[in-house]
Symmetry: C2
Subunit: 155 residues, 2 copies
DNA sequence: CCTTAGCTGATAATGACTATCACAAAATAC
DNA sequence: GTATTTTGTGATAGTCATTATCAGCTAAGG
């Protein structure tokens, strides 16, 4: 709870600094994002969770809030295979987007917090004269559960 | 032209083996994909190019053909920031998807054919017990042109 | 021929997202 | 204080990429 509170304060601070009001709707949206920090929720999913806390919020407002939070780099907008935008909290303000492991069988998404791309980026900048700002890396494969299950089925 | 022809033959072969007919619509779609090998075309863009070769093809047919080609791993379906599906030819049947450099200023997409992720994959498989099948890696930043332009503007 | 399965094109439907607009709340001016 | 502008909200209509539907076409086999 303590970590959540301090994250909450930091985010509110950032909104404030950027000249945005701290409306109840925005506070609730941030609250949901913090509570589901590990998930990768779509706008619709966030909307439903916020509505369960306070009926009467509009879907458009959730989209607008997510847009603001994305601009301020508080969250990152990601799209995996299904083409639906998902929002990933960027607490501890990581310099670069972390990576993901997408299971092709069950659809689960796991996080990889280590960056590991530093050397590769240097290579890219040198060989392609491309200035790297950020990256998106997703591995497709089988998660622990699904690869175990596959083995027992086959064995 | 020779390389194009042989690729064409291989793709037709794969379609045939999988039990699909080699209709004129499918041939033209493959032709466009081969001609624009370096590009990352959307379904709509492919549709227009095919239609310019032979009026009277339907958009739905292009979508259906792209779906088949994706299933057969002849092309890969990718989505960058705008959420629109783009199709990337997988000739020389690369084992893993190649990488991309997306310019945040002009939107240009450049290809990176070296894999470079082999070591990282081993690390992922070991640390996360995740079986890696493929990956999607895009670097976001400034392309050669845009970073040069930026420098002269500032200087 | 006749039949069947695969394929096509037009078009309707879906669903994620965006724009619009009248109204409310807050900040600022007077 | 009240007036006025700015910011934010919710409902809802619109957009646009993609998918589903369906009647008609085509090729293959008897
Ligand atoms: Mn994540
Ligand atoms: Mn490519
Ligand atoms: Zn799984
Ligand atoms: Zn550029």
């Amino acid at each position: 709870m303590k970590k959540l509170d301090s994250s909450f304060k930091i985010i509110k601070q950032k909104l404030h600094e950027a000249g945005f009001k701290l409306t109840p709707q925005r506070e609730l949206t941030v609250e949901v994002l913090l509570e589901k920090e590990k998930d990768h929720l779509s706008a619709e999913e966030i909307y439903l969770l916020v509505k369960s806390k306070n009926t009467g919020i509009g879907l458009a407002t959730v989209y607008r809030t997510l847009e603001i939070l994305t601009e301020l780099q508080i969250i990152n907008k990601l799209t995996f295979q299904d083409g639906i935008a998902r929002y990933d909290l960027n607490m501890n303000s990581e310099k670069h987007q972390h990576h993901h492991l997408l299971c092709l069988k069950c659809g689960n998404i796991e996080e990889v917090k280590q960056d590991m791309l530093f050397e590769i980026e240097k290579e890219i900048e040198r060989d392609y004269q491309f200035v790297v700002r950020d990256h998106r890396l997703t591995f497709h494969g089988l998660c622990r559960n699904c690869s175990n299950r596959q083995e027992t089925e086959e064995g």
